[in-house]
Amino acid sequence: MAGSEAAQVRLEPDGGMTVNLGPQPPSTHGVLRLMVQLDGEYVRSCEPVIGYLHRGLERMFEARPYRQLVPFTDRLDYLASLNCNLAMSQAIERLGSVAVPERAQYIRVILCELNRLASHLVFFGTFAQDVGATTAFLYAFRERERILDLLEAMTGARLTYNWIRPGGVPADLPEGFAEGVLSFVRDLLKELPLYDRLLTNNPIFRMRTEGVGVISRDVAVAFGASGPVARGSGLSYDIRKTEPYEVYDRLDFDVPVYDEGDCMARYRVRMDEMCQSARILEQCFRDLPEGDIATKMPKVFRPPAGDAYSRTESPRGELSVYMRSDGSPNPQRVHVRAPSFVHLSMLPCLLRGVKLADVIAILGSLDTVLGEVDR
């Protein structure tokens, strides 16, 4: 096997070993390939190889009129596609100075927070499985299934929703949706303490996560980390608070922050965020106003020449869309700032000197989605 590029394991002349993790194993969450140089059981260096899921989405955005862009954003972060829809729709609205009705803004926040819950539940399940706990995965997916059923009743799809459009949302909440969400939220809040008993307080899980993959506050700032990764490193930074969009400035919620910077801190941030999302959902249904759900957009939308930048807090971090218009029906340039890509770039620095088994735990705690990295 020695000397072959395609080999899974290669022995180095100095006694080291190169292990090729990926691009297909389930533990790298998608098609990520990690070339790990080992010295015994310790990682000497690690090189992430990306691009296996590259579809040229940014180029495809440029070749289509504005109204056809949103379905493609479903394929960015496919675990939280509504949050991607929102980032793109906001950029288009800012470009054309389109106002969104208040009811539509509330519905958007409801959809995004439901999707955030679904995404964090996937994280909970897969991260537990990464460090060797199997049962939590089944419980997390049982709860997620209820969110998917609710979103299916609302949007008709179970993964690629495409239900936040420039100007608003295409249809109003279905009958019984509010009751369904609120009863789910109540059940979830009862369920979360059980998850703590099952997993968070388990000594094996704590040994696998506490003090592992520590990202200091300075490193997080230097790499431009955002979302739960930044908040797990003591950085109180949430776009929903620092630069509120939609109706987040009217909602009362806390931003959980942990100072440790290890896998456990990032895990705890996400678990606490689920409680906050539940709070946001309850407030949204309390305050939901009557009114229009969309501003009518022209059939051929030609925004004036200029550019727009929309920042949103996706479950993974700061998801932003930069868009430039030259006055034609198609955008001139679209750029997506994907949080997973930024967090993945920290990996070579994070993995130096850790044990091979911790590579999977650290990668899992960053919660990257490769659809967003490769675009």
Binding site: A63, Q68, Y139, G156, L199, N202, P203, I204
Partner: protein
């Protein structure tokens, strides 16, 4: 001493975790569906296989062949052949290559006649790429018979109009031609 303490914490935690498992074992109803034997019920808004609604009263498909859906489609799934023109316009062919389709709902929102819908059918996988190309016979409820009635109704209507003194130009059966969806951008990605 510390080691002993750690052992007991680990020992107790096993049973705490198993307690959660036990709670779920006895206290919860089943949530799984034995898929090929049981079929999940989908929501009314479910975005499954397309269909072209048939207007029983008029005896024809609702579609008038205006190509708005084809223009709204980001991946150019839809192509159609128009039948007739003016107020009797319809389609004689309507082809969707669902291998490219994203099921994004944009074509349905674009239709001003409510003439294309998504149904609850979700088992669309096939062993053959050509099997994902759906023609008007697959999409119309009632299949070939519905398409035959659609064509007959439209042709009869045009013929009747021609005979009752409609001008030659207005009522003739239009040259059947494939309507190619317009290019959406300069260079295609």
């Amino acid at each position: 001493m510390r080691r002993k303490h750690g052992f007991w914490i680990g020992f107790v935690s096993v049973f705490r975790g198993l307690g959660v498992t036990l709670l779920n074992l006895v206290g919860r109803r089943k949530v799984t569906v034995q898929y090929p034997l049981e079929r999940p019920k989908v929501s009314p808004r479910y975005r499954g296989l397309f269909y072209l609604p048939f207007d029983e009263e008029a005896g024809r498909l609702k579609c008038v062949g205006c190509t708005l859906c084809a223009q709204a489609c980001p991946t150019k799934v839809i192509s159609m052949k128009k039948l007739g023109s003016g107020k009797h316009a319809g389609v004689s062919e309507f082809t969707m290559d669902l291998g490219r389709c994203m099921f994004c709902n944009l074509c349905i929102e674009a239709c001003p006649f409510d003439a294309i819908h998504m149904g609850p059918e979700y088992e669309l996988a096939s062993y053959n790429r050509n099997a994902s190309v759906f023609t008007i016979v697959d999409l119309a409820p009632g299949g070939a018979e519905a398409v035959r009635r659609n064509n007959a109704t439209i042709e009869a209507a045009i013929k009747a109009e021609n005979e009752t003194g409609g001008s030659e130009r207005k009522g003739h059966i239009a040259e059947v031609k494939l309507v190619v969806p317009p290019k959406t951008g300069g260079q295609e990605a």
